[in-house]
């Protein structure tokens, strides 16, 4: 079979068999080496956060990956293909060009009994971003997110100087058995953080030249349909954990977790904060 075997003679059979065998071995080795090299490149380029989000997004149920334009009824069906980063989406660019979303006149909006001020942008993972006059952006947890976590047991904020990126981890919140990360709505450097006394927030200096981009975030009239879906998702998440929910109506209480002391809150928060 091999040249070092007694009485070995090359023939077509040997060439075919050994050729196929070594090709297979080479393909297996090349795959592992390519994966290892790719990983090294990713780590060097600090892509771990981005990859983590892409994988988590892929793991989300199809109903949670719905395009923002499907939520508003602008398109019939649609699954987001860009992991909620509409800056890369041609459909989003086309639709916003066709029908630009006006900046809301009324600054405050009360939605389902919760405060969702319309002077800021919202991320689908329950964070908001508000541009400040000094050019920085304040990032915080929206009202539904706050009600889900109530008074957190602990919050892990990044140190000033740390870098956050869109759809990467902005900060982590611990509540009972839940340990969830809140997705950052913007890219930039953290310049200031706010503790429990001032409401948990980050101040981020954006890493952009020129006008900052927020088109990947929800705003104005898009917030209501999105929140409608979020309320439905919350009901589903609670019912999946065997927790009783109201069919419709009512207003979420300030500390939802307190009302469900025996529910797997980690599962509910994982669902709501898009961390499967």
């Amino acid at each position: 079979m091999f040249p070092w075997n007694y009485g070995f003679q090359w023939n077509a059979g040997h060439i075919i068999f050994l050729g196929a065998f070594y090709s297979v071995l080479a393909a297996i080795a090349a795959t592992v080496i390519a994966a290892a090299r790719g990983s090294r490149r990713d780590l060097a380029a600090n892509r771990a956060e981005e990859i983590g989000w892409r994988e988590e997004f892929h793991d989300l149920p199809a109903r949670d990956r719905v395009c923002r334009h499907a939520l508003t009824g602008e398109i019939e069906h649609g699954e987001c293909l860009h992991a909620f980063d509409c800056r890369q989406c041609e459909t989003h660019a086309r639709l916003t060009e066709l029908r630009p979303l006006p900046w809301p006149v009324k600054p405050e909006e009360d939605l389902f009994g919760m405060a969702f001020p319309l002077d800021r942008f919202y991320h689908r993972g329950h964070a908001w971003a508000q541009p400040e006059p000094d050019g920085t952006v304040t990032v915080g947890l929206d009202d539904l997110g706050q009600r889900l976590l109530g008074v957190p047991d602990a919050v892990e904020l990044p140190q000033p100087g740390a870098r956050v990126e869109t759809n990467g981890t902005a900060f982590r919140v611990h509540k009972r058995d839940a340990n969830v990360r809140v997705l950052s709505p913007v890219d930039g450097e953290v310049v200031e953080t706010g503790g429990a006394d001032r409401g948990w927030y980050l101040k981020v200096k954006l890493e952009v030249f020129g006008e900052p981009e927020f088109r990947h975030l929800l705003r104005g009239a898009e917030v209501r349909p999105w929140l409608l879906q979020e309320m439905e998702r919350l009901q589903l998440a609670l019912s999946a954990e065997g927790a009783p929910t109201l069919a419709d109506g009512g207003v979420p209480v300030a500390d939802i977790a307190a009302c469900y002391p025996t529910t797997d809150w980690d599962a509910v928060c994982g669902e709501m904060f898009l961390e499967p």
């Binding site: 075997n5 297996i28 795959t31 390519a34 790719g38 990713d42 892509r47 009239a221 349909p225 019912s239």
Partner: protein, 433 residues
């Protein structure tokens, strides 16, 4: 205690209960390892095999688990090559089953060979005339592929994925998984075939000898076809069994039905091919070797019933059930048919291994009887215990069924209600313009 290692949103039994379950199987594994150890230390005299009856329970086990484990390559082929996206729901489970089957088979082969420390001889000084050479090469390569395919599943563990290097390696490896799926299909095709070819070339065993195409006897193709046919059935069966044992919905019924349909289709083709092959063997191959086919079935307990059971009861019947949409929709019928298909392939491997060797071929031969020794049975049970342990561990800590979390949630509203909601949302949006 181990909650942080279990995927978010899925429920598993308590750690204590899990440990009790694992301890019971670990005890069986220890017993089996002791039996295997005896065979390795004392020699193959611990078995009831001899130079005349050299293939027994272990080879039967190897052939059967390798056929059942074909679900791994076939599901990968359907998902990554044919882009049958529904298979995503069971691919991880299929890989674990494949890994368990193939690694178990290789371990038993190491004991069966008797001198595992010289296993490398087969790679360096392979026997050019043996189909087993191809089997050895392909199984070793495919086991490597399965281990590599298992790595991303393992690295997706909730805790492990928090390590950035694991996360990115899993991501990069998963991007190339279609290469592994292709290689796995190629390797499986050949080693399943060569395992069948191994019997088909036995001129001295007219019961197994078959004619064929070029260097490949018909058993080469029949083994490939039967393995591809029962692989999906075994995935279906195990998924259903895990659902029952864990009392959870893990896979949508449509996916199980699709697996059943694919299995039924391939099984029907296999039954047809096997029937033709049997007729050719009865009317031509066997008489040419000096035996009438009925003579092989005159040795009790291997009467003609075994042939009809293999082709009819465990081949044609499950194929027809799996091909009937109405029956397929009923879980009882679906699972029973899948179970029968798996039993059919096990029976086929038993016939090829044990019946072939038991039958006399020379005038002075006698009908051989073989009953496995407790050491052989213990080693067999060790593989079963090992499989249960690996699968149980994987089911608890890894995401074997990606749709499990989703299936926990019952969608409360109808399609119509969804449409109304979208319309309301659109009105809410447009009303602001």
């Amino acid at each position: 205690m181990d909650r942080q290692f279990i995927a978010r949103g899925v429920s598993r039994c308590s750690t204590a209960r899990f440990l009790v379950w694992m301890a019971a199987w670990a005890a069986l594994l220890v017993f089996g390892l002791y039996a295997a150890g005896l065979c390795l230390v004392e020699g193959l005299n611990q078995t009831n095999m001899d130079n005349r009856f050299a293939f027994g329970l272990w080879i039967f086990l190897d052939l059967t688990v390798i056929a059942l484990g074909a679900g791994a390559f076939f599901t990968g082929f359907l998902l990554y090559i044919l882009k049958l996206d529904q298979m995503r729901a069971v691919i991880n489970s299929a890989v674990v089953i494949g890994l368990v089957c193939y690694s178990g088979a290789v371990c038993v082969l190491a004991v069966d060979v008797g001198q595992p420390l010289r296993a490398w001889f087969t790679f360096l000084y392979p026997n050019v005339h043996s189909m087993l050479t191809e089997v050895t090469f392909c199984i070793t390569c495919y086991l490597t592929v399965l281990v590599i395919e298992y790595v991303p599943i393992l690295l997706r563990n909730r805790r492990l994925r928090q390590v950035p290097s694991f996360l990115v390696f899993e991501f990069e490896l998963h991007k190339l998984v279609y290469v592994l799926a292709g290689v796995g299909t190629f390797l499986s095709f050949f080693h399943q075939g060569s395992l069948g070819g191994l019997y088909g070339v036995l001129r001295g065993r007219p019961f197994a000898f078959r004619e064929g195409l070029a260097v490949w006897p018909s058993t080469f193709f029949l083994f490939i076809l039967s393995a591809a046919a029962v692989g999906p059935s075994f995935i279906l069966l195990t998924s259903w069994l895990v659902e029952k044992l864990s009392r959870k919905r893990l896979v949508r019924p449509e996916v199980l039905q699709l697996l059943g349909r694919i299995s039924g289709l391939l099984l029907a083709v296999y039954v047809l091919a096997k029937s033709i092959d049997t007729l050719v063997w009865i009317n031509r191959t066997s008489p040419e070797t000096g035996f009438q086919a009925w003579q092989f079935y005159s040795w009790k307990p291997f009467g003609t019933w075994i042939l009809f059971a293999e082709i009819g009861l465990f081949g044609l019947v499950p194929a027809l059930i799996l091909l009937a949409p109405k029956l397929r929709r009923r879980t009882g019928w679906l699972v029973s048919a899948a179970g029968m298909a798996c039993l059919g392939v096990a029976l086929n491997r038993f016939v090829m291994t044990v019946q072939t060797l038991a039958l006399p071929t020379l005038s002075f031969d006698r009908f051989m009887e073989y009953t496995p020794s407790w050491q052989e049975t213990g080693t067999f049970l060790a593989v079963v215990a090992y499989g249960v342990l690996v699968y149980s561990f994987s089911f608890r800590y890894l995401q074997l069924f990606p749709e499990e979390r989703e299936l926990k949630v019952q969608m409360p509203r109808t399609r119509k209600a969804h449409k109304l909601l979208r319309r309301a949302a659109a009105t809410a949006l447009l009303g602001r313009y």
